[in-house]
């Protein structure tokens, strides 16, 4: 079958997609966007987390056909996504989320969506590096997408909020402490910037 959808602001068309193929497979193997990782294919580890019309989902559990006409943001588009959000007023208060319309308004520059080059890092990406939250980094893309969505919804998350929001993302290396640090750091920097 053929699937038409938008990835990181760019219209995409995937041909000859098998019925059983997941969104994750289509992103990684057909779109050339291997940023989203496959570590369980069962919705247990969160490594494959992307946003589908603004909502964080495990892309390994989404059948490719389900994304017809919809908007996907992957880690490759995260920096631009965050930038555009900031430019469009962002979300300074808690609990505003992204509406479907907002998600559709957003578009990344095509070159950035493929390579990430030339784009600045989003606050959460920078915070992960600065806080030492990246070791092997395999969990990182999924955690970044989930954490970015949390900060969009809740600019001042408590530790319990962070734990709850990231509880679907496994990390085997860090012991999570530095991941908490990173989210706190990004939240604090976001606050400073406002």
């Amino acid at each position: 079958m053929r699937v038409n959808f938008t990835v990181n602001g760019r219209q995409q068309e995937a041909d000859d997609v098998w019925e059983g193929e997941s969104l994750l497979y289509v992103l990684r193997e057909r779109m050339g966007l291997p940023g989203s990782k496959n570590a369980c294919e069962q919705g247990e580890c969160g490594s494959c987390t992307v946003r589908l019309d603004g909502v964080p989902v495990c892309s390994c559990l989404v059948a490719a056909g389900q994304v017809e006409g919809r908007e996907v943001v992957t880690v490759e588009g995260l920096a631009d996504f965050a930038k555009q959000r900031a430019e469009h007023g962002g979300c300074a208060t808690a609990a505003c989320g992204t509406t479907l319309d907002q998600a559709k308004q957003w578009e990344a520059k095509p070159s950035d969506s493929q390579t990430g080059e030339g784009s600045e890092l989003s606050p959460i990406q920078q915070a992960f590096i600065d806080a030492g939250a990246v070791q092997c980094g395999f969990c990182t893309p999924g955690l970044l997408v989930a954490a970015d969505e949390l900060l969009e919804r809740n600019a001042e998350p408590s530790d319990a909020d962070i734990r709850e929001a990231l509880s679907g993302n496994l990390c085997r290396c860090t012991g999570y402490e530095k991941i908490l640090d990173a989210v706190r750091l990004a939240a604090a920097r976001q606050e400073e910037a406002v």
Partner: protein
Amino acid sequence: MATIGTPTNISQGSRTKGGIGESTLRPDGTLKVTGEFAYSSDMWHEDMLWGHTLRSTVAHAEIKSIDVSEALATSGVYAVLTYDDLPTEVKNYGLEIQDTPVLAHGKVRHHGEPVALVAADHPETARRAAAKIKIEYVELPVITDEASATAPDAILVHEGRDDHHIGHVPHPNIVHRQPIVRGNADEAAERADVIVKGEYTFGMQDQAFLGPESGLAVPSEDGGVELYVATQWLHSDLRQIAPVLGLPEEKIRMTLSGVGGAFGGREDLSMQIHACLLALRTGKPVKIVYNRFESFFGHVHRHPAKLYYEHGATKDGKLTHMKCRIVLDGGAYASASPAVVGNASSLSVGPYVVDDVDIEAIALYSNNPPCGAMRGFGAVQACFAYEAQMDKLAAKLGIDPVEFRQLNAMEQGTIMPTGQPVDSPAPVAELLRRVKARPLPPEQQWLTAGEEADVRALPGGLSNTTHGEGVVRGVGYAVGIKNVGFSEGFDDYSTARVRMEVVGGEPVATVHTAMAEVGQGGVTVHAQIARTELGVSQVTIHPADTQVGSAGSTSASRQTYVTGGAVKHTCENVREKVLEIGRRKFGSYHPAWATAELLLEGGKVVTDGGEVLADLVDVLEGESVDLELEWRHRPTEAFDLHTGQGNGHVQYSFAAHRAVVEVDTELGLVKVVELAVAQDVGKALNPLSVVGQIQGGTTQGLGVAVMEEIIVDPKTAKVRNPSFTDYLIPTILDTPTIPVDVLELADDHAPYGLRGIGEAPTLSSTPAVLAAIRNATGLELNRTPVRPEHLTGT
């Protein structure tokens, strides 16, 4: 910029930034946060095929026949290989003992053993074709424990064993045995006022690294193959791959691709030979990526163990003797079992002074999944048991458990049960003191003033199973000792190549090693070492491959010590060469070139008095220095096979934990509230990474305490839970805050005084959590992981 011949003074502040001791950031961090870092599963090649492995559905059976015709006829399939297609007489591989078949021949010995390979144009095509391969098995009885392995009429897991251990083990189904006898435990036992015995069971833990086994093999024009793979030791892989392929090592070019964690699980080969075989057969690039299910079969696990301990102590709290027997289940193939036995036995006493010991450790061959290396390597299982024993003794004597440990704590100069003196700081009592001195987290944190209980902080969390009734708190302590580096006479060396030159008007150093960066941060530290030794800020880390000499394994907490040592050593020699060039070019300008101790700092050549003699740019202009050197730590020796005596270990590392838990006694749910740790790291080359390693290791120890276990059916030896739905690793909700206290007591034998850090925190974390749960519930709890039924008695 300083000009030649006009010496100026530089202040301390202008020393090279980003050197050792600083928390410099990972060079691969940006790539990893943007999704651009190429993990082995992200490799892609035009015209690439997908490989798939067919694995046995039974644990122990004779293979009567394999019919691949239907699979081969499937459209999109390019090759189907079985044992008969292997190109040479060498059909097995292995780390120490070559007993692991590339593809099963005649027999399968464990559930999930590779039997056939398929290459096809879509991963699903390969999977479906593999399902069409018909295998006729004649099932055999399974060997699953010590009794079935050593029964007089037991079927041999491996017929005709004639490896070097055979004369020493009591049964061919035992891979290796190491006794250690020192003093006279029986005589010493007579001095004991109390004796405690215990029988402990340690479950089978999985490394559960997040990035599954994967890689890409590309056939090359000279008949060789290029392999891009996630591994822990490129050269060890190469040594095992080449004979099976029948190729000289030069024709196999291996490059490390992004590794998504390892923890010992990538020490053995997984898909390496399989991908190469398919690529050479089809003439096309072949990628293999395991899914999570297959990953549970694709690597060895941590040895499950039975441990039988006896300790004695006098009324005033001094240990008199220790006897123990440790039975490790190595599963169907040897992997690292012999070395795990060496560690388990030699570290079985823990960080305590006991002069009279009687120790025996063995590893079995069985039809359970093969076990080998995992973080903590043999020391973990022992620590779980001896720490439980310490608590039992302390309770019996009415002494505080921390005080009891401190009374018996080893220190610098203590003689190990192997007769080896501990010749560097061993701050065991101090580490315990530090975790104990830390203020306890507030009681009942779920109580929020005047409001409903915050269920998120309670056992069971958001499942809302309790509002605090029936929840009790406990506190527990543990400490452990781990050896660093490869022991028992292993030639544990590393190689580094360092180049220094001017690029774009800047002095630049390039460091090339074959070290596998598996997430531990070696790449960060190598750049820091080069900056410190060579005084340049620009350091490029060359990708790890087999074009440079071996770096040894990224395991045993050894890489910063050994490959870090090799980088330091090579840099020192490069520095000498740079200074020679400087003397040749500028020696006549200033007498200090000949007389003073010279350093490279901040891009300049300076005297130890801080006088600047030249810019490195001027020295290196038109020249470059390029050296590849090997470096070894001091040698070790094998343990005597009968007495266990010998200077077998290079260095020890120590960590202590205090666990605070809350237990819902009604449902048997455990919430770990805090897991504080103190560790001596000798010298923290990168404090940020050090803390990250300690927290990560602590969490793996927590996992095996309360949730992680590969469950093998004792009747069929089949694995019951090969998925992240059923094999649980700690989430961010299961993991408490982990405050870390880092000590830096230099080990004079090690580069910069450093101590390997990666494993020690995994040891004491588990027994500390268990001790805390026992403290909360009063239950005996002699097995790990603790499950709800153990706490509720159901």
